[in-house]
């Protein structure tokens, strides 16, 4: 396709969004501006801070490093798709209870990254949690309560799985 704006169809949180954008437009910008889903935040535009993390077919990726045109035909999950009808997910609830957020700007990226990670790592140690979290920068919390929240979510999932 040429460099001019193209019609794209994106599947975001189970809904189809039809947009008209240049191939160079970043997925994070298309989500925020063309899909009006501003929960995904932009912190660095070079893939380091993790604030822009979304899920593509369940895998966390930095949406500042993907062009929207690349994301056709995949299931995109943003933070807006996590809580179900206003009910927080387990991890969101744990972050709330453990005071795992302050300004909130990095929070969406952390929820999506760690939610996907917990699916693969059901019984993590604190060191493993910190390692997984290292791809998301937070300037407010010092990470302490975020780690507690992820550990609490893991324990709770473990309990539910056992029941």
């Amino acid at each position: 396709m040429s460099e001019l704006a193209q019609p794209l169809s994106l599947n975001v949180n189970g809904e189809a969004h039809h947009v008209l954008v240049e191939p160079r437009k970043l997925l994070c910008d298309v989500l925020r501006e063309d899909c009006s889903l501003t929960g995904t935040h932009v912190g660095c535009e070079h893939g380091v801070c993790g604030a822009c993390t979304v899920l593509l077919d369940g895998r966390p990726v930095r949406s500042c490093l993907i062009y929207a045109v690349q994301a056709q035909g995949v299931a995109i999950t943003t933070i807006e798709g996590v809580a179900q009808q206003g009910t927080l997910s387990l991890l969101q609830q744990c972050l709330h209870e453990m005071h795992g957020l302050q300004c909130g700007f990095c929070t969406a990226g952390i929820v999506l990254t760690m939610q996907a990670w917990l699916d693969e790592h059901p019984n993590p140690s604190e060191a493993e949690i910190r390692g997984a979290l290292s791809g998301n920068l937070c300037r407010c919390t010092g990470y302490h309560n975020i780690v507690r929240a992820v550990a609490a979510a893991a324990r709770q999932r473990g309990k539910e799985a056992a029941e």
């Binding site: 935040h41 801070c49 957020l101 700007f105």
Partner: protein
């Protein structure tokens, strides 16, 4: 009745942040908004010879391209000239016209349909520069014949103050033991995860400007903005949406924001700007680059007889704040928790060709490292235990109130108590045994201690005494609506501190309602009362105090109305409890038929039933000026292992015993400690703004400017030992910056303790692994 103050209530803010429904600046949809983008200087120091914007202006979708010259017509310059001895006045145009002073200096502004286009057009702007010799260090700035960063000044020394209390020279003459120490802190920057940005809407019909900007001090910002645009303050509204971190970077009225405002007026279109991360690291605001030296006269027990401080600060190229603003606080409170009467300081602040300086969470942060490092230097020289040297010098409770040599009064602080608790909780004796055993195995473990006395909540009397124009008061209002709903406001602006929750707790308790029913409404200068904003760890104390006063006043009115409605002579036996009026009868609180809603209905809609002479409505506005200074204290302890082969530092344990007075919400206070400590550790270990010899900034991305991740920051144990401040209405003290002070001091101290067998001292930051290796290379440890 149990109040909610002191409870770790979960935050009201969380729901929107967790579900992606926060409203940060960039989330605001403003129809028809154009996007601004700045073309910035690639040179550290250069004259602007010519600017050619023709090609850029011709790009389809580009609406306007402007330079400093046009902006000088639409705005006034910033004159920074407070009446402070030793401080040179300076002026700054909105965008530079004659020369650029640092790499990243904004020179041209492109306004286009979108940011992508604007960046395309930026590549077509042709600017002819004549490079000048760059000033890239403090020494370079002061060298004879150095290029002048500001050509209206006689030299690059923009500020120089000295002070003497007692007779330190005499003490130095008398003393047989002198100890000298050095402390070099590197340049850092705030790096909030949300960069700067703004969106300006000019209403031509109303001749009114609305500036949407994430800013910690909306009212002072509005005053500045109106003045610079030659508008009346009533023609300007500043609205701060949710802020993704401020830390002091979002206080000043920046040139980019002012440019957007001027353009919105001229173009009669909304103009918005989003700073990218490179711009944020290069050109927003820098901090912390200071070099200090202390000289102490001591006796054989390590008692400090006199202390001298020299400090030099690299303020960068532009003054968004008075140049003496930060370093002076270091000098002011250096003696900290120690009994020192004979003290002198010499502060020099220089201009260089770097991004301008500003306050960064705990602008005075290095002060605790300096005094604690001096104590440790004394201990090393005299071969004493640094814990004992602290004990010898530290204030006892019986010494308080204590007048510091600089005139500051320390009272209602507990440095000795937090110190002893911290040592006990950490179990120093056990640590020393482990340390010894590890040393025999070639593992170098160290413990660092840092005693912090934190200056917070600066009051008007402080500014007056310091000759600084400005006020320290805060304003607030509480309103009960006809339905009984409670709204409150204060002149602060949150950037993560949880005000919506803590102040709801404060108002709820002072008024007598449930915190869920109190809504805090802040950040809009049209509705919030004029306050000095959030900075200097003042928010909790001034906000909590003024809201308490307003809520109490309102409660009195409510109960007076209740008394009248109940046919009582006075309200002495009445209270409001969770929105219901109760009466004390026969030693027991009993419900009356009246609810807050009933009273509000009367106050607004049936005022003839009010007590004689009482005004209708239920609103209370108050202002509160805190004491000149409110101090809090803490003791930080950090355990680190230094890998001698690679220089890597691993933090294994961190605890802080803190006394910040009455606490509204302990979870939020602990969270603030975590965040402040993490910022201090991150700065001391990893972050570094690097300018090379040509003045090129080498740290323009998060790959180069390294923030600590969850791996580098250890778990942080916070032990609370709160004693109230008797001079604030709620007993609270500020606390949100002390963690930075303690962390910097504690980690430096820990590394030095670990390296002690090598006979070396780390006196500079960051503690990069190659720096550690430089210290120990070729040295053999003594057991």
């Amino acid at each position: 009745m149990t109040g909610s103050v002191g409870q770790a209530l979960l935050r009201k803010e969380d729901y929107r942040f967790l579900t992606g429904q926060g409203r940060y600046l960039d989330d605001l949809a403003v129809a028809g908004a154009l996007h601004a983008h700045f073309v910035r200087s690639p040179h550290a120091h250069a004259r602007i010879r010519a600017i050619d914007v023709a090609a850029a202006s011709g790009v389809p979708g580009v609406v306007r391209v402007v330079t400093g010259r046009e902006l000088a017509e639409w705005t006034t310059a910033l004159r920074m000239a407070p009446p402070i001895e030793g401080l040179h006045p300076v002026e700054m145009t909105t965008l530079p016209i004659d020369k650029v002073r640092f790499i990243g200096d904004p020179v041209v502004c492109i306004v286009a349909r979108d940011r992508y286009l604007a960046e395309d057009a930026a590549e077509l702007v042709a600017i002819e520069y004549e490079p000048l010799a760059p000033v890239t260090s403090m020494d370079g700035a002061l060298a004879p014949g150095a290029a002048l960063v500001d050509e209206t000044l006689p030299s690059n020394l923009i500020s120089h103050q000295t002070f003497t209390a007692g007779d330190p020279k005499r003490r130095f003459g008398e003393a047989s033991i002198m100890v000298e120490a050095e402390f070099h802190q590197h340049r850092q920057t705030h790096a909030p995860i949300e960069t700067r940005g703004c969106c300006v809407v000019w209403d031509e019909g109303r001749q009114h400007l609305t500036m949407h900007v994430g800013n910690q001090v909306p009212h002072p910002y509005r005053t500045q903005l109106a003045r610079r645009l030659r508008l009346s303050e009533s023609q300007v509204t500043v609205i701060s949406p949710d802020i993704g971190g401020g830390f002091g970077q979002k206080i000043a009225l920046y040139r980019e924001e002012l440019t957007c405002a001027a353009l919105a007026r001229v173009l009669r279109r909304p103009v918005r700007w989003r700073e990218d991360r490179t711009e944020n690291l290069l050109a927003a605001c820098h901090a912390r680059e200071d070099s200090a030296r202390t000289r102490a006269a001591v006796d054989k027990d390590g008692r400090i007889l006199a202390l001298e401080l020299q400090i030099t600060e690299d303020f960068g190229g532009y003054c968004f704040y008075p140049a003496n603003y930060v370093a002076r606080v270091v000098a002011l409170i250096l003696t900290g928790p120690y009994r020192i009467a004979d003290y002198s300081y010499d502060i020099k602040v220089v201009l260089t060709n770097k991004c301008g300086y500003g306050p960064m969470r705990a602008p005075m942060a290095m002060v605790s490292w300096i005094i604690e490092g001096t104590i440790e230097a004394i201990a090393r020289k005299l071969r004493l235990d640094p814990i004992e040297v602290r004990r010898v010098n530290m204030l006892h409770a019986s010494d308080l109130p204590y007048r510091m040599p600089t005139g500051e009064t320390l009272e209602d602080i507990t440095p000795r108590e937090t110190f002893e608790t911290a040592l006990a909780r950490f179990n120093i004796a056990d640590f020393r045994a482990r340390q010894q055993a590890d040393r025999r195995r070639g593992i170098y473990r160290g413990v660092g201690i840092c005693c912090v006395v934190e200056s917070t909540t600066y009051g008007s009397a402080f500014y007056k005494a310091a000759g600084i124009p400005g006020s320290g008061h805060e304003a607030g209002w509480v309103k009960i609506e006809p339905s009984g709903a409670v709204n409150a406001s204060v002149g602060l602006m949150a950037s993560g501190q949880g005000y919506e929750t803590t102040f709801a707790q404060v108002v709820a308790d002072a008024l007598g309602v449930a915190p869920q029913n109190v809504r805090l409404n802040i950040g809009n200068t049209d509705t919030a009362p004029y306050g000095m904003g959030s900075r200097g760890a003042r928010g909790g104390t001034v906000g909590g105090s003024v809201l308490t006063l307003a809520a109490r006043a309102l409660r009195e009115k409510v109960l007076a109305i209740a008394a009248t409605l109940l046919g009582l002579n006075s309200s002495g036996e009445l209270r409001l409890n969770l929105g219901r009026v109760e009466r004390h009868l026969g030693g027991v609180w009993t419900e009356t038929p009246l609810s807050l809603t009933d009273i509000a209905q009367v106050a607004y809609l049936d005022p003839l039933r009010l007590p004689a002479g009482m005004e209708p409505g239920l609103e209370a506005h108050k202002a509160y000026d805190p004491p000149p200074m409110t101090y809090s204290n803490a003791t930080h302890v950090c355990e680190a292992v230094v890998d001698i082969c690679t220089g890597a530092i691993h933090l294994q344990r961190y605890l802080v015993v803190e006394d910040c007075g009455t606490v509204f919400n302990p979870a939020i206070v602990t969270g603030q400690q975590h965040g402040a400590i993490a910022m201090g550790l991150s700065g001391a270990l990893l972050e570094e703004v690097v300018y090379d010899a040509d003045g090129q900034n080498r740290s323009g991305s998060f790959a180069d400017y390294m923030l600590a991740t969850a791996v580098e920051i250890p778990p942080i144990e916070v032990i609370s030992q709160h004693t109230p401040n008797r001079k604030t209405p709620t007993g609270s003290k500020g606390m949100s910056e002390g963690g930075v002070m303690g962390a910097i001091g504690a980690v430096m101290s820990a590394v030095n303790d670990a390296l002690a067998p090598f006979g070396v001292v780390a006196d500079r930051q960051p503690l990069a692994p190659d720096y550690i290796r430089t210290l120990v290379r070729g040295k053999m440890p003594t057991p």
